[in-house]
Symmetry: C2
């Protein structure tokens, strides 16, 4: 198994894992940082794959509460159904007795010749030809300092105000700066960049709080960069819904993702 | 609240509901019918909305086991987080002590002027101008006899073999035959028509067993028919991943849905 972006540790019990939090897996303003949602899903995916010895096919995280560094997240893996080819699993992430997230998932691999993708990679300039994007809050020492983003379409960061993207779409090339492999946990982290598309779609300094993070893995192939095709489908009643398609550099559709979130408009600089 | 498509009953405990199963909410071959997955998600959505007094924003069902008529499904609603505007909820559906599904969800409505959709309804002939579609197994007395489907693009039913749809897409107009309102539980049932798109995309008599059913509700408006834009994104390793966009007749994007499923190819007539 590849080296992980976060500090997931085994215990005497193969169904039980824990992850000490440092700023390196957190986001938010200095002094008030919290675990990035995608790290919660990613850690759950890594824990399940190691407990079950099978690859994740689908996983959905429900986010219930925030975890702040330096607390330690306990991840308990439950496997209510274990079949010949599939496992249906659940991971509860908690700090002390407070639930932070629950992930429901299916893992497995079946004998099948069928391998097709109907979604083609959109045209995009190569990562080296795209401008590096700075996170609107600045990298600092948090998670965003460890993830490199290049913008192939749309806007990311601070220059979104007044410039809405008519089709609600953005194309980001994303890679981990420290050379970690692009595996299922890394795709889970990238999938939680859907909220960055809300500001781009609205043309406002907006983002949001994820209610969930849903990841569907088709086929992972070696790649350095991942092209994340983010679509914001709609907003209403204070919530936004969006999706992401994740392609390898060679055009392979590796995964799809979706999420719903609470929309937050940051009108003032100190809210950003 | 509108009259429901299924027989959800209240108890003395507002967090506890039950649903006796009849063939009318089931699918599958005669003598071996089982509850349609979308009915499980729909019943959970209806139970949560009634328990919490708030509309569902997002809900994901994890399917663990089958429920057969005439068993009774108990639905227990848990609300781990209840905020000023949002509730985060969970519904466990079980028969006796056997878990059939778990639904994780968020409910609520926030004060917000923002109402936008970036996804436009695709061009499609009106329902009256589309051919009525027969389910490949025939309606019988099951759920498919109660849901009317008209095909605006792609193939549905028995004529898919050898005729793959190059873009993996199908457009179905769907309505309940008995005049039930199109509400969140009804959209949950329609969302579970994603597997019908797999046979259309592959050009095989294929379908699948849902691992999950994920529904995101943007805004529900009065409509008789719903245009279901089904996209199969890819298959690999025996699993398929797809999505659906659900539009009202006036073009309003009411909801989006997605799911992953085990692909089943039915080569022989008796497997169909």
């Amino acid at each position: 198994m590849d080296k992980l972006f976060f500090d997931l540790r085994a215990t005497h019990n193969p169904h039980r894992w824990y992850m000490p939090l440092s700023n390196a897996v957190c986001v938010g303003p200095p002094g008030n940082m919290f675990m990035f949602g995608g790290v919660g899903l990613g850690a759950a995916v890594a824990a399940m794959e190691r407990t079950c010895g099978r690859p994740v096919v689908w996983a959905t995280a429900q986010y219930l509460s925030y975890a702040k560094p330096p607390s330690v997240v306990d991840l308990d893996v439950w496997t209510p159904v274990q079949g010949k080819y599939n496992t249906q699993a659940r991971v509860v992430g908690h700090v002390h007795d407070r639930e932070i997230f629950t992930v429901n998932a299916a893992l497995g691999e079946r004998p099948s010749e069928l391998s097709r993708q109907w979604l083609e990679m959109p045209d995009a300039p190569k990562p080296g030809d795209c401008e590096p994007a700075e996170h609107w809050r600045g990298g600092g020492e948090g998670l965003h300092s460890r993830i490199e983003v290049r913008v192939a379409k749309g806007r990311y960061g601070a220059d979104r105000n007044g410039q809405p993207e008519p089709d609600g779409r953005s194309l980001l090339w994303i890679r981990p700066r420290e050379g970690f492999a692009v595996d299922a946990p890394m795709l889970a982290i990238m999938a939680d960049f859907v909220p960055s598309g809300v500001g781009n779609a609205l043309g406002r300094n907006a983002g949001g709080n994820s209610l969930d993070n849903t990841l569907r893995i088709r086929r992972i192939v070696p790649t350095e960069w991942v092209l994340c095709d983010i679509r914001i489908h709609g907003v209403h009643g204070g919530f936004a819904h969006g999706a992401m398609y994740l392609f390898a550099e060679d055009g392979e559709l590796m995964a799809t993702a979706s999420q719903s979130l609470i929309v937050r408009i940051r009108e003032r600089a100190d809210e950003r």
